[in-house]
Amino acid sequence: MTDLNTLTIAEARDALRKGEVTSLDLTEACLAATEGAGALNAFVHPTPDLARDQARAADARIAKGDAPAMCGIPLGIKDLFCTKGVPSQAASRILQGFKPEYESTVTQNLFDAGAVMLGKLNMDEFAMGSSNETSCYGNVVNPWRRAGDATPLTPGGSSGGSAAAVAADLCLAATGTDTGGSIRQPAAFAGITGIKPTYGRCSRWGIVAFASSLDQAGPMTKSVRDAAIMLEAMCGHDPKDSTSADYPVPNFEAALSGDIRGKVIGIPKEYRMDGMPAEIGKLWSDGAQMLRDAGAEIRDISLPHTKYALPAYYVIAPAEASSNLARYDGVRYGHRAKLAQGDGITEMYEKTRAEGFGPEVQRRVMVGTYVLSAGFYDAYYNRARKVRTLIKRDFEEVFATGVDAILTPATPSAAFGLGEMTNADPVQMYLNDVFTVTVNLAGLPGIALPAGLDAKGLPLGLQLIGRPWQEGDLLNTAYALERAAGFVAKPAKWW
């Protein structure tokens, strides 16, 4: 058998059920891979003892014949998820030392299904970033490099640790979260698959909140089939999250027939941005041709408000963040600044938050504070929410004409170098999410999957956007595209 850490979830599940391998074997292989991958800085709080305990329990369960698909599968968990008794600090200094007394619903669902946690994964601070350069743990390094060039590249963000860990085979899969593209953009930069489900599919309970009306959890995996298996285990109604949908969870894997004959795939003209690299344009038209060859109808569509999605997002997300992050006050958990003689409670708040939040988080909290402040609420926040209504309407109108899914590039470029954007203004970094952010604003499911390599040998991803609650159909279209694209490249090991 090949190195066990390189298996997909589906392969490992089948081998576990046949008794060819144990969860403890899989777990040890992943732990060994993790130990040798310090240079990637993906795992920031390893939990090897917990992982071994969970693996033994999973093996006992499998032996009894009671084995859900995720039973015994070693995973990495993004640091944004609260995990009981295990540091959970959203890559922020302000949550230093925080060990939750409770478990997030998504991780609890995974553990109930028998999954194994190898540790917590690096990310951008409070999930605010597109390059994993805002983390208090330092940068994550992408396992991919440009051909003949050792420049360290970003794995994308905010789920950069998740993307790097899956791409480097440190785990079989990982959890991510996506507020504006934080699953799909790093998946594309690291040559893996990531799906953000419909808003409300996954409970947000116990996931450190960034922008509550946009945040969704999802799996980051080595294949579309794995995404289907793991998503099913993650989602479901939760009374503890009033926005979690009380719909039955379908068997997503059963939807993977690969038959997309007669499906209508929309190609939105507004996503053909000025200055788009020729390679991205070609990848996109190649992807459309693959779907056409598989029997789908390719149709040009228009989503006229696309260009206003990023500006609307950069009002709504900071506004919600400024409200959500008000809880970090140095009183109930995490860091409290050392106070000077005579300092009162206001000084405690201000010093704690200045020390605890990094520059990007401070910037967004303050922008959010500004757009919500008296006199500007209507001009900025309400206007952005109206534009959001129009962005969602664009999609509704397209779906009403019979379009089943929409094909776009996942990102405007391949992975860029760490530090390359340091001197750019913040808006330049925000443009990374130009293709993904509309999906969060409209609450839709979106999946990114690797579809090719650029001239320098870096992976490029395509995105498919589906109808609300139709993740099964979306995954099946992605499955057809995955088979046609035949992407099998892996980063050459240098770490």
């Binding site: 030392g97 060990k99 007394e101 419909t198 808003y199 409300g200 009306s213 009033s242 926005t243 009380d246 408000h305 260009k307 206003y308 990023l310 500006p311 609307a312 950069y314 009002v315 006050d329 009183v331 109930r332 958990y333 995490g334 860091h335 409290r336 300092d343 009162g344 409670i345 206001t346 405690m348 201000e350 010093k351 938050r353 200045a354 939040f357 401070q362 910037r363 909290v365 303050m366 922008v367 504070t369 500004y370 402040s373 900025y380 309400n382 206007r383 952005a384 929410r385 109206k386 534009v387 959001r388 209504t389 129009l390 969602k392 203004d425 913040p426 808006v427 925000y430 409209a442 609450g443």
Partner: protein, 95 residues
């Protein structure tokens, strides 16, 4: 719309984030860049459009108004930077 130093200082105060005097000009500059980007929203005709309140139309669930959880003082205080005698402790609030 342009943010001056006074506005930047006021926003920092509202957000309860201490910003040193000499960091204010750079902060104001960044605000202006971001707000300049956001200004594009003024091009959109939003006449008669409702601001979105919920991305998925759904009724919030109801439940009986009963206590479902509690008696967790030790757990709740376990992460506090300063807890004393069963309470969160903070610097003096009132003189």
């Amino acid at each position: 719309m342009s943010i001056d130093l006074e506005t930047a200082a006021r926003v920092a105060k509202l957000a309860r984030i201490r910003v040193d005097e000499d960091a204010l000009p750079a902060l104001a500059q960044e605000f202006n860049t971001i707000l300049g980007f956001i200004e594009q929203l003024n091009e959109v005709d939003v006449t008669g459009v409702e601001p979105m309140t919920s991305v998925t139309p759904m009724r919030l669930k109801r439940r009986a108004d009963v206590v479902t959880d509690g008696d967790r003082q030790a757990e709740i205080l376990s992460n506090a930077p300063d807890a004393r005698e069963g309470f969160f402790a903070v610097p003096k609030v009132v003189e």
